[in-house]
């Protein structure tokens, strides 16, 4: 069996919901080399910024990716607002924080399910996705949409959330959190899950830093980096402690994400009673002129929006560097020498969002 074979992995593959293609050179089920190819979802939406009005472009920014949709829209708006020197109303800032934390929880829970599916644990997949519906219910109640909810707007939020609804949400969240404990315990303690995660896809601290890993990837390798510390939206009034694991393997990354879910629940419990009264958006006059890099923390890691305006309604350049794009070099590093059975698990631990990466 010791001859080399090349296995085409993807672009249509049941374990990967999204098209990415890897040519795996394998020898006895060990991956010698992984050669990825991209471009299956490349849309070129950055170029659209030259055809669409900068306020209208928010909708396209939200559709960079359907999973972290809200944070994309919000990050774009934040970059434009900084260029224009706008200070958005306080209530909008708190609502933005609320929605981005809800997005983080829903994204991480979805990811936990997909990971379980990748190592063949169907029951766990179903359990995670069942609970995720509870979070989607909250998102739907507050914004009207399930995954892409169009609540971001240059200058604030597109909708206000009534105070009685805000008061009701914590109880809903607590119910989800209670049930989630049982599931995350399985990820932490179950024998067969640990067999599949511990020591798989090791990424050392130095490699993670040098290759430019971001988000849970970087934090699971022991680097405390979290863009929420920069204090955008209402994060300057909330104490956020970066969650760090030292092991640097798939299990460590799972633990980082699980602990982040609970952290987000805590943040939401702090945010929801403290949303100040007032308007949620402001009138926009003029057009952006200047350039700015906005850094935000997505569920998948640090995301960067670059906006360059020329004083007209149409921006010169919009660029987004998504976390998945930054995590591709570390992924290739981890895939070398792993087992074929581990490929889906390792690919999933970067929480790949190919739509984000290819835009």
């Amino acid at each position: 069996m010791a001859n080399r074979t090349v296995i085409p992995f993807g672009p249509q593959h049941p374990v990967l919901p999204e098209p990415i293609h890897l040519d795996l050179v394998i020898e006895d089920e060990h991956v010698v080399e992984a050669i990825p190819s991209f471009g299956f979802i490349h849309r070129g939406l950055e170029k659209l910024v030259e055809k669409k009005d900068f306020t209208e472009f928010t909708f396209i920014a939200e559709r960079i990716c359907g999973i972290c949709s809200y944070i994309h829209g919000m990050g774009y708006c934040q970059a434009v607002e900084t260029v224009m020197g706008l200070e958005i109303p306080e209530r909008a800032k708190w609502l933005r924080t609320m929605w981005s934390e809800l997005s983080r929880i829903h994204s991480h829970m979805m990811w936990l399910g997909l990971l379980a599916d990748a190592f063949g644990f169907e029951n766990l997949f179903m359990a995670c996705w069942r609970l995720r519906e509870g979070i989607l219910d909250v998102i739907e109640e507050t914004s009207g949409g399930r995954v892409i909810f169009g609540a971001a707007k240059v200058g604030g939020c597109r909708r206000d959330v009534p105070d009685d609804l805000l008061a009701r949400i914590p109880a809903q969240l607590n119910a989800v959190e209670d049930e989630l404990r049982a599931i995350t315990n399985v990820f932490r303690d179950d024998f067969s899950v640990r067999q599949r995660l511990c020591g798989v896809g090791l990424l050392s601290r130095n490699d993670a830093y040098d290759l430019g890993a971001v988000g849970p990837m970087l934090r699971a390798s022991g680097v405390a980096q979290d863009s929420r510390l920069d204090g955008y939206a209402a994060y300057d009034k909330i104490a956020v402690e970066p969650i760090v694991e030292e092991s640097g393997d798939c299990w460590g990354r799972t633990m980082v994400r699980i602990r982040e879910i609970y952290q987000s629940f805590d943040i939401l419990r702090h945010v929801l009673p403290n949303v100040p009264p007032g308007p949620v958006d402001m009138k926009i006059t003029g057009a952006p002129k200047g350039e700015f890099f906005a850094r935000l923390e997505q569920p998948r890691g640090e995301v960067i929006y670059y906006v360059k305006g020329n004083g007209t309604k149409f921006l010169d350049r919009f660029r987004v560097r998504t976390p998945t794009f930054a995590n591709i070099p570390p992924l290739l590093k981890m895939l070398q020498g792993c087992q074929l059975a581990d490929v889906p698990v390792i690919v999933l631990t970067i929480d790949p969002c190919i739509s984000c990466a290819e835009r």
């Binding site: 593959h13 599916d117 063949g120 029951n123 599949r196 059975a341 889906p344």
Partner: protein, 291 residues
């Protein structure tokens, strides 16, 4: 058994097994779904699936592959007939092994990398499960002095009393044979897998139906093996079979898929300890009893 009852048993096996296996699989899917807090498909779903597959278009990937699949089906049925007419257990095991080899050859002939890896893994699974099947036959022989299913079936005391270790080992390899987690390496019924559908990737429509059909016969045959342990008490046997099958579903729903190295290692270790241990102990006791 007279010639006529034998023929009747053979016909009943050939006709009823697919229906029985279909119902069993349907129940399996419903119970799995309930474990996952879903409602699940109708009870007859596997039968609908099978009939639908026969109506699909035939895409000829490789003719020899299809010939091998027919061999797989034929030898599985032959093994089953030999078993249910009360024939020789060794012939049953050899026919079953031959059927598996046909299946693997069929997948190798298909020529896609996924089905190749699936076939390699299937070989490993055969390696993991075959020793236990042979040990089971040996156990029956040591306990009853015969390889004939009729003789084993006619024992006055249930064999579970003397062969508990062999029974445990058979349950273990049943998980492999039913393609349940953590042993769903070569292909898997529902869970998504890194090698897509593994060994069955390249077979479409009626050919996939043949595989499903053969798998159904194999399931019934293996349950027949387990029945022999309780032969004098049919009701207890039925209860035991239901309990075992439920256990398999439970294992499927509480485990991740593991590596082939792990599967090979543990199944050999487990079957060696419980199976061979049981055999040695039994042999020793019998000699001690009649010096």
């Amino acid at each position: 058994m007279s010639a006529w009852t034998r023929i009747l048993a053979a016909i009943l096996f050939v006709l009823l097994s697919p229906i029985l296996a279909g119902l069993l699989a349907g129940l399996d899917r419903i119970i799995s779904a309930r474990m996952q807090s879903r409602i699940g498909p109708p009870l007859l779903q596997p039968i609908y699936d099978l009939l639908k597959l026969f109506q699909k278009e035939r895409i000829a990937v490789n003719r020899s592959g299809h010939f091998f699949l027919l061999g797989y089906l034929l030898f599985t049925i032959l093994a089953g007939i030999e078993f249910f007419i009360g024939g020789d257990l060794l012939i049953v095991i050899f026919a079953l092994a031959l059927a598996s080899v046909f299946f693997v050859l069929g997948a190798f002939a298909a020529g896609s990398p996924y089905s190749h890896i699936g076939a390699e893994r299937e070989l490993i699974q055969i390696m993991a499960s075959e020793p236990m099947l042979i040990m089971c036959a040996m156990g029956f022989y040591v306990a009853t002095g015969s390889f004939q299913v009729t003789t084993i079936h006619a024992q006055p005391t249930p064999l579970i009393a003397t062969l508990p270790g062999i029974f445990l080992g058979m349950i273990y390899i049943l998980t492999i044979k039913l393609r349940k987690s953590p042993f769903d390496l070569s292909t898997s019924h529902h869970a998504h897998q890194e090698i897509v559908k593994g060994i069955t990737t390249e077979f479409a429509g009626p050919y996939l139906a043949i595989i499903e059909l053969a798998h159904g016969y194999e399931t019934i045959l293996l349950l027949g093996f387990l029945y022999l342990f309780f032969a004098p008490w049919p009701l207890l046997a039925l209860a035991a079979l239901i309990a075992v099958y439920f256990l398999e579903i439970l294992a499927d729903n509480t485990h991740a898929r593991l590596y082939w190295q792990w599967v090979l290692r543990t199944s050999w270790a487990f079957t060696a300890i419980v199976g061979a241990g049981n055999l040695i102990l039994l042999h020793y006791l019998q000699r001690g009893g009649t010096p």
